[in-house]
Symmetry: C2
Subunit: 250 residues, 2 copies
């Protein structure tokens, strides 16, 4: 179905392949696997790959319309996406609009506290170390980013937040927090990479006030709640309702 | 022996009492208790209170001669110190000159790496949360310090490091890293508070290259090594050799 070459990288939720037609492009396959707590908890969910691929594609297109550079090129099939070949910066940038999750275990900030301006946390992507939170001073010591690059990453992440918060709000979803990854293209351009989906965003349904029912993201899986894929499906339905189907690549 | 009033605070290694003569002063008793790993590991060491009290007193006097403000007033007895009454800022400022300990579990920085300029880590003092590492962005959200105060704390911590590194180097000790706490006096002055001792500093003996023998600090206790108090005693001997006995208060 897609003209992909060899496997470059296999992560917990995606596989990345070379493209046979261009060294500047890759093909990304979204898998049905789900993991949580640094892969201590694992499961397979039918249809997860398709839902995350299509939601991500639409959200990347939303960012594009706001002038935010991403690695996204188009969808190739239900579960495959074409993207620019990037070198991933091994950092997870987490933007938090409402305090929940690990933040409330690591600070005295109470769950539910609105964070305005949003809190930006940076984690070092390393499974062996458990993706630790990293301070700016520690990041400096690692030498992963120049000061300019860090500032660009932070600016882009805040622009993504503004854009997605508004988009989700229109479809009655609250963007609680989300994780971004960034990459550098072969032409040395910084772009938003990876995926943007209920695996990487906390989304609360504004149409219910039930504290469990409103969870439409991977927290359902983390917390052992039922209807995980129904929640992802609801996000998919609303995103495509607001945005229409993502474009096909070539 | 000391004119102390009522107990204000009891920590893992010290007790703090009011002074009957002034609301601006307190008396601090250094205990023989040792704890590690957020108090999961506990022990009593004969003479620890005296050694830490006297070492701290001398080191505070060293800082004073370099114009660095501290809470220290003088020693009252072997295990008691008089100090200014301060409101402790609930942060632990850790300055690292050589990478070791938790830093190497939380980043890919290899143990033994020289950190120049020194790395400054800030931890939020909260036993229930396990004294978590805190980023500048999270610190902002907690509202514990103004930007000016944070900058003053960091400047003071770096001045303390420069001063202690040189002092210890003269007595053949390498200051690997150390923890500082800061307080605000009744006159709103920021000062170095708490203690500075082998409980709060990692000190390596330059007179031996043996990786275990050189450890002259609480790591001996953390790692289950023997001769813990002999190590503290050696630090005491060298500090007083270089500095002489600390002054008595009143």
């Amino acid at each position: 179905m897609q003209n992909h070459g060899s496997l470059i990288y296999e992560g917990k939720a995606k596989r990345v392949f070379t493209s046979q037609s261009s060294p500047d492009e890759v093909f990304i396959e979204f898998k049905n696997s789900a993991t949580a707590f640094n892969a201590l908890k694992k499961a397979e969910f039918h249809d997860k790959g398709r839902l995350n691929c299509q939601i991500s594609a639409s959200l990347f297109e939303v960012l594009e319309t706001h002038g935010i550079p991403t690695h996204y090129l188009g969808v190739v099939s239900d579960t495959w996406m074409a993207a620019q070949n990037v070198q991933i910066i091994p950092l997870e940038i987490v933007i938090r609009n409402i305090a929940t999750g690990s933040l409330c275990k690591e600070t005295p900030i109470k769950a539910g506290t609105e964070l305005n301006p949003a809190l930006l946390d940076i984690y070092y992507k390393d499974d062996d170390l458990g993706d630790p939170l990293i301070t700016e001073a520690r990041l400096d010591k690692l030498g992963l980013l120049t000061n300019d690059q860090r500032s660009d990453v932070e600016d882009l992440a805040r622009r993504v937040n503004k854009c997605l918060k508004e988009f989700f709000n229109q479809i009655d979803l609250t963007l609680v927090d989300f994780k971004l990854e960034f990459g550098i293209t072969n032409r040395r351009k910084l772009v938003v990479a990876d995926e943007i989906s209920p695996d990487t965003c906390r989304l609360w349904d504004q149409r219910t006030s039930d504290l469990q029912e409103r969870i439409l993201d991977k927290d359902r899986f983390r917390q052992g709640l039922d209807h995980v894929m129904e929640a992802y499906g609801e996000v998919f339905k609303r995103v495509q309702g607001a945005y229409s189907k993502p474009r096909n690549y070539k």
